[in-house]
């Protein structure tokens, strides 16, 4: 019998007071009963609007039907036909603006909890899977993938499944890209990313860490090594700063640096060799998911007070609702309609050797009000004159966006880029160089994991066509 409850089956989460002091995963996932109950809410619509809302077109009603039957492994097999990273997507996809936004159940009540079901199925598989994957028959063609983030891993997985000999080159010492350096443990446990990468390796994908393409090897050399096509999924890793006074003070981080120290280098662990500041009062500038991640990480590192400083209002906040809610539950204070104008530093005029010299002592802000809509359609914040105030903080984290990394584009002749440094690629990921494809943040600028995966998937199809017709 269909479950006609208007609300989604709730997913248990860890208590905010407990979780705000540890790095364990916040959302705990469905039990089998919960998954069965939620699956019954799916009406199995003929025209499947949800599938069109998914950037990688997972056959959603089909997998949910298998969940209803209790055949979770079959459900997993259906998802994995379309997605190389189900356990990741089930956790970090903005389902509310994608598949779930198209769900018929959402017209009157809440949509089916597609993301939660996907997560359940992937976790069930990872827990019960015996590790034997049948390697696809090799077709003898070599493809190189640059970057092991969501775009690169998806492209690699899709090609490997078709028999391509795929090598992924990663600059860091572990694979995963933003999934390991950017998204914190409490939102996406790193052992889950590791498992997804292991699955790809079992499919025959080779992962070469410590290779910076554009430095260690360049695109021409990859072709010389016998790779017939190359996919660039190098992401948008270059942090932006505001250009205000005081950004070089000690205690000012880019969100990238702060999160990388914590997530990739594990500086939250007591015996870590990589240091990180454990500040008492922290201001995070920005309103996206990265800002939420940074704020919640600062809290878990022991901060007494964490502020989000954002120049527009709650309505314009670009972060996912769920992340904002989680942050608020944990006690993060939102300073909305506020814009930083200067970072203040401590300076003892009588003692040059005072250890606190040069550290952050406060963030000067000005209040804003919303004016006329700008080009993006959002109302433009305007400074309220004379509304300056100082937020007393000892750490400032800039989470105001990133730009594509120019390492590859500057080392590759003939690779066309936009004014903003993004690689120019057509709807299939084809770039200005024959045999070179690109996708994800390197092409679009900073966006979401699932959009990058969609781009990786599209490019995999295009590369397959290209090599077949060569």
């Amino acid at each position: 019998m269909a479950n006609m409850d208007l609300k989604k089956t709730k997913m248990p989460t860890m208590d905010p007071l407990v979780r705000s002091r540890n790095f364990e995963e916040v959302a705990l996932g469905y039990t089998e009963e919960m998954a069965l109950r939620e699956a019954e809410r799916c009406l199995n619509c003929k025209n499947m609007p949800c599938v069109n809302g998914c950037p990688v077109n997972i056959h959603i009603p089909e997998f949910i039907s298998k969940v209803k039957e209790g055949d979770f492994e079959a459900a997993y097999q259906i998802i994995s036909k379309s997605s190389s990273l189900p356990a990741v997507c089930g956790r970090v996809c903005p389902q509310e603006s994608q598949c779930e936004s198209k769900c018929v159940r959402g017209i009157k009540g809440e949509s089916v909890g597609i993301g939660r079901l996907e997560r359940f199925v992937a976790d069930w598989h990872n827990e019960h899977f015996n590790g034997n994957i049948e390697k696809p028959v090799s077709n003898g063609h070599k493809v190189a993938v640059v970057g092991s983030g969501p775009a690169g891993l998806t492209c690699a997985g899709d090609l490997a499944k078709r028999g391509y000999d795929v090598t992924v080159f990663e600059a860091f010492h572990v694979a995963g890209g933003v999934l390991v350096y950017g998204i914190p443990e409490f939102r996406l446990p790193k052992n889950i990313v590791e498992k997804e990468v292991d699955t790809l390796k079992a499919l025959g994908v080779k992962v070469e860490t410590n290779f910076v393409i554009g430095k260690t090897l360049d695109i021409d050399e990859l072709f010389d090594m016998g790779f017939e096509a190359i996919f660039i999924g190098s992401g948008a890793g270059l942090p932006r700063f505001m250009g205000i006074e005081g950004e070089s003070l000690k205690g000012v981080y880019s969100a990238n640096e702060f999160l990388t120290r914590n997530n990739l280098m594990k500086s939250y662990k007591k015996n870590s060799e990589t240091p990180i500041m454990h500040a008492k009062k922290v201001a995070v500038v920005g309103g996206g998911n990265v800002a939420m991640d940074a704020a919640r990480t600062a809290l878990r590192l022991g901060a007494e007070k964490v502020y989000i400083v954002y120049r527009r209002s709650l309505e314009e906040l670009p972060a996912r609702r769920e992340e904002v809610e989680h942050a608020m539950e944990e006690g993060i204070e939102f300073k909305l309609l506020c814009n930083p104008t200067k970072i203040l530093g401590y300076r003892n005029p009588d003692d040059k050797k005072d250890r606190r010299n040069g550290f952050v002592s406060g963030l000067n802000c000005v209040k804003m009000e919303l004016g006329e809509p700008d080009a993006s359609g959002r109302r433009r914040p305007v400074e309220l004159e004379g509304s300056d105030f100082v937020l007393p903080v000892d750490e400032v984290i800039m989470a105001i966006g990133t730009s594509p990394n120019p390492l590859i584009t500057s080392a590759t002749n003939g690779l066309e880029t936009t004014r903003h440094g993004c690689i120019v690629a057509d709807e299939n990921g084809k770039t200005s160089i024959e045999g070179v494809y690109a996708g994800g943040d390197a092409v679009t600028g900073a966006a979401t994991v699932i959009l990058a995966m969609g781009a990786g998937k599209t490019a995999a199809n295009a590369i397959d066509e290209y090599i077949k017709n060569k």
């Binding site: 600059a171 860091f172 430095k215 890793g237 990238n256 870590s272 040069g358």
Partner: protein
């Protein structure tokens, strides 16, 4: 895993290692750097390349034991492996059009200055090397500098080897005696580079310095290595490590460099205790 094919103790605090890393060796240029991790869970340590052998596929690093991670690296023996080794990163030192150069190296910075002296020497430029150390015990690579230079001035703070005094004194004397340098390249502690710049500024001699700030990824991703050059924000890892010395804000760089001072000090003592225990 990357094999340590050679290890040589150069002084009580400085060690040389040749690491088997053929891809890095193939591309490495003087002035560039690598990042290594000694163990799983280790810190990422940036080190400027001290040499390379493209045929053998090895890259030379020379490091000073200044903290926990370098102590752990130094505890590794020839034939053992380190977890990670990535590079070459950053831009190579520019050598075009330089016919006469003064290379100023301070302490372990001399190890990074050496490949530059060798490069200029190979290109046929006249090379004057001024290298400074605290005392005779800490002098490294003297013979190598002699082989790669037309003139070498060795300075020690206490006069226990070479001449007593600072590298800046020797540099000023050479300039005043009429040596006309196209460029002065200074590599060493920030405070030394700051004073080399102060020495050359009145003469208007182009002066290049090599910056080695705190960094994680070395590819422009974290922004931790940001420095102010000519009033503009630069990332040492991708825009450098070489910069126009006249434009660098050294005071800010020095202040930023001690951000983790207490953590590092504590960690170093902890690691030394651990290593000593293992020895017993």
């Amino acid at each position: 895993m990357y094999k340590i094919v050679r290890k040589k103790i150069l002084s009580p605090v400085v060690t040389l290692m040749d690491i088997d890393a053929p891809f890095v060796a193939k591309k490495a240029q003087a002035g560039q750097f690598i990042i290594l991790r000694v163990n799983e869970d280790g810190e990422r340590i940036p080190l400027t390349i001290s040499g390379y052998d493209r045929e053998k596929g090895t890259v030379r690093i020379i490091f000073q034991i200044i903290g926990a991670s370098t102590a752990l690296l130094n505890a590794k023996e020839e034939g053992e492996y380190i977890s990670d080794f990535v590079g070459p990163l950053g831009k190579a030192t520019e050598t075009d059009g330089i016919r006469k150069v003064a290379i100023v190296g301070g302490g372990v910075g001399s190890a990074i200055a050496l490949p530059l002296a060798e490069k200029f020497h190979e290109l046929g430029a006249e090379v004057h090397s001024i290298i400074g150390f605290r005392n005779s015990e800490l002098v490294i690579l003297e013979e190598e500098f002699v082989a790669a230079s037309d003139k070498v001035v060795l300075m020690t703070d206490d006069g226990s080897r070479g001449r007593k005094g600072l590298v800046t004194e020797a540099l000023k004397e050479l300039i005043d005696s009429g040596e006309k340098y196209d460029e002065v390249i200074a590599i060493g502690p920030l405070v030394m580079m700051k004073f080399v710049v102060a020495t050359t500024r009145p003469y208007g001699i182009k002066t290049t310095v090599s910056m080695n700030p705190v960094m994680i990824d070395g590819t422009g991703m974290c922004g931790g290595c940001r420095i102010t050059v000519g009033g503009k924000l630069k990332f040492a890892c991708v825009d450098g490590p070489d910069f126009d010395g006249f434009e660098v804000d050294f005071d800010e760089a020095m202040e930023r460099n001690n951000m983790y001072h207490e953590f590092e000090h504590h960690k170093y003592e902890e690691t030394c205790n651990l290593l000593n225990k293992e020895v017993e």
